[in-house]
Amino acid sequence: MGGKIVTAQLTTSAGRPESVPPRGKIFFLAGLVVVLSFGWIVFPFLIYKKVEQPIQFSHIAHTGDNVGMKCEDCHNYDSSGRFLGIPKIRKCAECHTKPMGVSAEDRKLAEDYVRPGREINWVVYSRQPENVYFPHAVHVKEAGLKCQTCHFGQSTSSNLRPAMISRLSGYSLDIFGQNLFNAPYTPSRGMRMDDCSDCHKKSGVAESCVDCHK
């Protein structure tokens, strides 16, 4: 009885070709590869949903040679030095009371927003939680950072890419950096606390809780 089995096994082992990996390893690798690819390729699109901007605003159309606006013409400060962020509809209304171009977006702006005085609910890529305090005046005016340092190539974009908003937390992928495939803990040009912290350390600037939180 025992002998038969042994013989059968020996025969099986002896008959295996050299180049095929052990069976266990295949399953292991299979599991590994499947989950890895799911995690890196499919999962980001599961956890992030694409949210389109309400209007396809073209920065280059405003900053280009035709109009020649600068960042601070729309993205400016109030009298106390607070940064006002994305302008309200009254800023667009300064020029766009009537459709100015030929695009459908332009007509949408004039008719659906400027005329009724409705605010455009932009999806803010760089929206941070309430407890984060980021003073633009200190960074741009005092420290001399350029807009592009944190906001990449906005000024030359011709449309607004869709925002990738996390389904769980509601915050944008931009906080982590541009690349969808960036590992969460790789410091990149994102806007996470560690990113701010790194730059503060490098610049030798104060970095206490009360400097960046409110």
């Binding site: 400060y77 106390s80 030095g81 607070r82 939680p129 309430e130 407890n131 305090y133 003073p135 005046a137 200190v138 005016k141 005092e142 503060h200 350390k201 030798g204 600037v205 104060a206 970095e207 206490s208 809780c209 009360v210 400097d211 939180h213 409110k214």
Partner: protein, 275 residues
């Protein structure tokens, strides 16, 4: 332990200061307050002004003096004598911004509170708090308050929230932060105007601003020319529970000796003169 009444020695070295890099250029400050309790009328404007400025919600149903949130609270104390010799005093007590062996900082498991090396402000970031309330036990001044409930405002009143302060959620501890959001705003204003230093008049906490008798003087204790530094050094200025050695940066001032003696004994005694 000797009484150190009347002396002010804000410690420059602080083992509770965060070990982060300090700013090379900015001047170091130690913000503090002197509260003249002879001028305090107990009106409560500081309590209300503070709560409005810091997005503290109005009392939840069922909240009382134990479970309410009052980052600055005015206590009444009596001289313990019966009518007609009774005399009372009002003590507004906020976080005393302890400089030395800051009790709440040393017990927090989350590092949710720290002493800012640049300004001396004991800053609490409620988001980081996990709600263990160890700091509430540790604080000898009972200056910390727990959010037992989620903050709710009557319908529409959330429009009146201060954009400079983030509302907290339930389960976290909060306390007076010397309105450091106003310091942030002052810095922003100075930066926008191209100045390197803030205008001291731009940074005043809500309690000091709202006190109708100007009993609260606020400023940089290290600036010898400032009113607060001079008043803190006055003969009749004192700190609460001096013997604990917490070196608080909130001073009190009274010409009345029985009031000064109270600082050592604990404010809770004789809250309504009942001994």
């Amino acid at each position: 332990m000797e009484n150190n009444i009347g002396t002010t020695e804000p410690a420059v070295e602080n083992e509770n200061a965060s070990h982060k890099s300090e700013s090379s250029g900015a001047r170091k400050a130690r913000y503090g307050m002197v509260i003249d309790v002879d001028s305090c009328t107990g009106c409560g404007a500081c309590m209300v002004g503070c709560a409005i400025e810091n997005n503290v919600p109005p009392a939840a149903r069922g909240a009382d003096e134990r479970t309410g949130i009052t980052p600055i609270r005015v206590y009444k104390a009596d001289n313990g004598r019966p009518f007609p010799e009774s005399n009372s005093v009002y003590f507004p007590i906020s976080c005393q911004q302890c400089e030395h062996h800051t009790p709440c900082v040393s017990v927090c498991p989350q590092n949710a509170v720290e002493v800012d090396p640049q300004t001396g402000i004991v800053g609490q970031i409620p988001v980081r708090c996990l709600g263990c309330r160890y700091c509430m036990t540790a604080c000898p001044y009972h200056a910390r308050y727990f959010n037992w409930w989620d903050p709710t405002w009557p319908a529409g009143m959330e429009k009146t929230l201060n954009p400079d302060v983030s509302p907290r959620m339930r389960g976290v501890v909060e306390k007076c932060n010397f309105c450091f959001h106003r310091l942030q705003a002052a810095r922003e204003k100075a930066a926008a105007a191209g100045k390197t230093e803030i205008d001291p008049g731009d940074y005043i906490p809500a309690c000091a601003e709202s006190c109708p008798t100007s009993a609260i003087t606020f400023g940089d204790l290290l600036d010898e020319e400032s009113a607060v530094a001079k008043l803190a050094k006055s003969k009749n200025s004192f700190r609460l529970l001096e013997s604990l050695g917490t070196q608080p940066k909130v001073y009190y001032h009274s010409e009345r000796e029985w009031v000064r003696k109270l600082a050592e004994s604990g404010i809770a005694e004789g809250e309504f003169g009942n001994g």
